[in-house]
């Protein structure tokens, strides 16, 4: 023991607090961010998430107002309530960010994602794939004698379910857009 009552070579006391202190209840939120459509703005948003160790489950971005040079970024993220609050505050700090909306807490909202699935198969499996596509209201957008490309829109869960069903039926490739979301009702988020 040193005279300071710290064991020699102890790693219990570090230069930083090593005890995490917040609850570990994880929530998933969908956040809409309206930004100036200028060079580097997406890098700022993504850099914020990687730099501060936040999660991105899905991210979509596109210009929504050509005249006003505005883009809308929709981010689905998972974290503790404290982290979600921080994410919103940190997003709001970015200079080209105009508005940040947490669609998960600001009332009901609709979320949709589009996916393209390439399925290569023959015979019975081909018929089954088409039948399931019909149930899920997926459209065929390309076809050869041995393959289909299906287009499906819906919630991420619905696309997961459809992809799971297609896997044993010869799923070759899957492309997803990520979530786009709007609040329900007459009011606008932005």
């Amino acid at each position: 023991m040193s005279p300071l009552h710290i064991k020699k070579g102890s790693t219990k006391h570090s230069a930083y607090n090593l005890r995490p202190t917040f609850s570990d209840v994880q929530e998933t939120h969908t956040i809409a961010v309206l930004v100036d459509n200028e060079a580097g703005v997406l890098a700022r948003v993504i850099g914020l998430f990687s730099g501060r160790g936040y999660n991105i489950d899905s991210l979509t971005v596109a210009e929504v107002d050509h005249e006003g040079h505005r883009s809308r970024i929709t981010i689905v993220t998972t974290g503790t309530p404290q982290v979600i609050e921080q994410i919103k505050a940190q997003l709001g700090r970015i200079v080209p960010v105009h508005e940040v909306h947490d669609l998960t807490v600001e009332g009901p909202s609709v979320e949709r994602e589009l996916a393209l699935l390439k399925v290569a198969n023959q015979g019975e499996k081909r018929v089954e794939a088409l039948r399931l596509a019909d149930i899920f209201r997926a459209n065929v957008v390309d076809s050869t004698l041995e393959s289909f490309v299906f287009q499906i829109t819906g919630t991420p869960d619905k696309i997961d379910a459809f992809a799971d069903l297609m896997r044993p039926l010869g799923l070759v490739e899957l492309a997803r857009t990520g979530v786009a979301a709007l609040s329900r009702g007459v009011g606008s988020t932005a």
Partner: protein, 576 residues
């Protein structure tokens, strides 16, 4: 056009270093006399000098460097300014637009590299937008929570000409942070002030950043309520150290009375501080019995680390004004009985005299050196203190008193060794006749010693007060206490002879080894008209106390006594 825009913004000094990609701007600077350019010896020095200038004058500091290595050398300074919320505007040259992306000579992705270490940055690809962006940059750097911004200007954009947009015609930015606090929460805070039995003000750099009026309002509120006040490293000077409500700095190396008062208070009023980990220690045991109010202009500071009961988003000056107004209108009530008991407890803690040390007749104790420096210079209103980072920085914060805001320049958030010397140059540029002292350790000081050339060239009489223990003192301290006294690479062999070093640069050097000579030597330094390197050889194994080991709460402070060596075998250090 760049020079015109800078003039429009009231800039009178620029710290910089030329290079190929900024030559057109340097050519403009050559042909005018309104803006003074200070040639530093390293781009990092330019940014720290601009930080020192900004913090001492309240005006944004301006830096001009070239592309590639010029920009990458500025990164440490930018990060430092971001962490400490210092408004600076950095202009970097860039290779011509048509060469961007071709790995051209001295090309670097400057906006990419500096994106996470600036408040905002711009790559200007069109000369028509250049002046407007410069005006916007000054607006972003100085409004809201201040910070560094960077404008990357390709060489062809510098050469081209276009219409100039004057400041008054620049488009109004949508970036307009909220200044006024929410009145309902302010009223709630005033009610808490009226009832509190054990209140404390915990203030930070936000008070300084808000401007002199905020410090004035804070003083008025503290005096009128009679509440005790402590401050972070960055907030020293907002409330005068000579004031009787002053408890001293808090935190890892803060004063015993300040930390215990924070731990036991029932109302904590955070004014412009951010619950940094050097302040809070163990978070789940941080001030467990208190209601917490938090005044901050940055919404992301609220609830980031510590859950707040009364969050008030707004400028410290505006909010304090409203708090005072409401509190006065409701009859200036405080809980006098509770306060009297509270002060009695604080006086008991004060009586511990946590900064006590035994001066030695043989070697200079670093605490003693700073206590003497303080005693001999404190009457000078125009005294500015800068520091590097380490033990000397904490001792300076403990043993020196700051009466006014903007007189204390230190690297708090990033903890940048090598900050203090160039910062002192920036301070002296802002206040040419002032007494500017950089309290340094020899290791930190060597990190930017090349700026001695700058100080001599511009006849800046900055005093470099080096507490030389031939050790990386803070690292050594941690190794002693936490790593089994295995002193891995924490001492310097082959240190220069600092007196000869000063003379080599054409400056004055003073060596002091004997406590009996200290006062005369300090006065010799203060009275010399020119830059001085003061090599003060101090006790080599002194530890910096009090200390809260990280991961411990405020009431688990270590109090040291004399050197650790003396303490071995005696009761010396006490775990409170």
């Amino acid at each position: 056009m760049v020079v015109q825009a800078l003039k429009d913004q009231g800039v009178d000094v620029v710290f910089g270093y030329p290079g190929g990609a900024v030559l057109p701007i340097y050519d403009e600077i050559f042909q005018q006399n309104d803006i003074r350019h200070i040639l530093v010896r390293h781009e990092q020095g330019a940014v720290h000098a601009a930080e020192g200038y900004a913090r001492a004058t309240g005006k944004p500091g301006v830096v001009l460097v070239t592309s590639g290595p010029g920009a990458t050398n500025a990164v440490t300074g930018l990060t430092d300014a971001l962490m400490d919320s210092i408004p600076i505007v950095v202009l970097t040259g860039q290779v011509p637009t048509f060469m961007i992306g071709s790995d051209a000579f001295q090309e670097a992705d400057t906006v990419g590299i500096t994106r996470p270490c600036t408040k905002h940055n711009w790559l200007v690809k069109d000369t028509a937008r250049l002046s407007g962006i410069i005006h916007e940059a000054f607006h972003v750097a100085t409004s809201g929570r201040p910070g560094p911004v960077l404008i990357d200007i390709p060489k062809d954009v510098q050469f081209a000409t276009d219409d100039y947009t004057p400041k008054t015609k620049a488009t109004v930015s949508h970036y307009q942070p909220q200044l006024k606090g929410d009145m309902d929460t302010i009223t709630e805070l005033v009610e808490a002030i009226e009832r509190a039995e054990r209140p404390i003000f915990y203030t930070g750099g936000g008070v300084i950043n808000s401007g002199p009026a905020a410090s004035q309002l804070l003083r008025e509120l503290v005096e009128a309520t009679g509440f005790p006040i402590t401050s972070t490293l960055m907030g020293l000077g907002a409330y005068p150290a000579s004031g009787d409500k002053w408890l001293g700095m808090l935190g890892m190396h803060g004063l015993y009375e300040a930390n215990l008062a924070m731990h036991d208070c029932d109302l904590m009023i955070n004014v412009g501080a951010r619950f940094d980990d050097r302040i809070t220690g163990r978070i789940d045991a941080f001030s467990p019995k208190s209601k917490k109010a938090h005044i901050d202009i940055d919404p992301s500071s609220i609830n980031k680390v510590i859950k707040t009961d009364m969050p008030i988003i707004g400028d410290v000056g505006h909010v304090l004004e409203d708090v005072l107004k409401v509190w006065k209108a409701r009859g200036r009530k405080v809980n006098r009985e509770g306060l009297a008991k509270w002060w009695a407890r604080i006086e008991e803690w004060r009586a511990v005299d946590c900064l006590g040390f035994k001066p030695s007749p043989k070697t200079i104790k670093p605490q003693h050196a700073l206590a003497r420096l303080e005693a001999l210079t404190k009457d000078r209103k125009d005294r500015f203190i800068c520091t590097e980072v380490g033990q000397h920085q904490m001792w300076a914060a403990q043993y020196m008193g700051f009466e006014d805001p903007n007189h204390w320049m230190t690297s708090g958030g990033l903890g940048t060794m090598g900050y203090g010397f160039p910062a002192s140059i920036g301070v002296q540029m802002g206040h040419p006749d002032a007494l500017v002292i950089n309290v340094a350790g020899e290791a930190s000081w060597l990190m930017n010693m090349q700026e001695m050339g700058t100080a001599v060239q511009y006849r800046l009489p900055v005093k470099q007060f080096i507490l030389n223990n031939e050790r990386l003192g803070m690292v050594r301290q941690w190794q002693e206490l936490l790593h089994g006294e295995r002193y891995s690479h924490s001492w310097s062999e082959a240190l220069p002879d600092f007196v000869k070093l000063a003379e080599a640069f054409g400056a004055k050097g003073i060596l002091c080894t004997d406590p009996a000579d200290l006062d005369d030597a300090i006065m010799e330094m203060v009275n010399h008209d020119g830059p001085v390197i003061f090599d003060c050889l101090v006790e080599k194994h002194e530890n910096c106390f009090p200390m809260i080991p990280s991961g411990e709460p405020h009431n688990k402070m270590l109090l040291g006594e004399a050197s650790t060596k003396d303490a071995i075998g005696s009761k010396g250090a006490v775990l409170v």
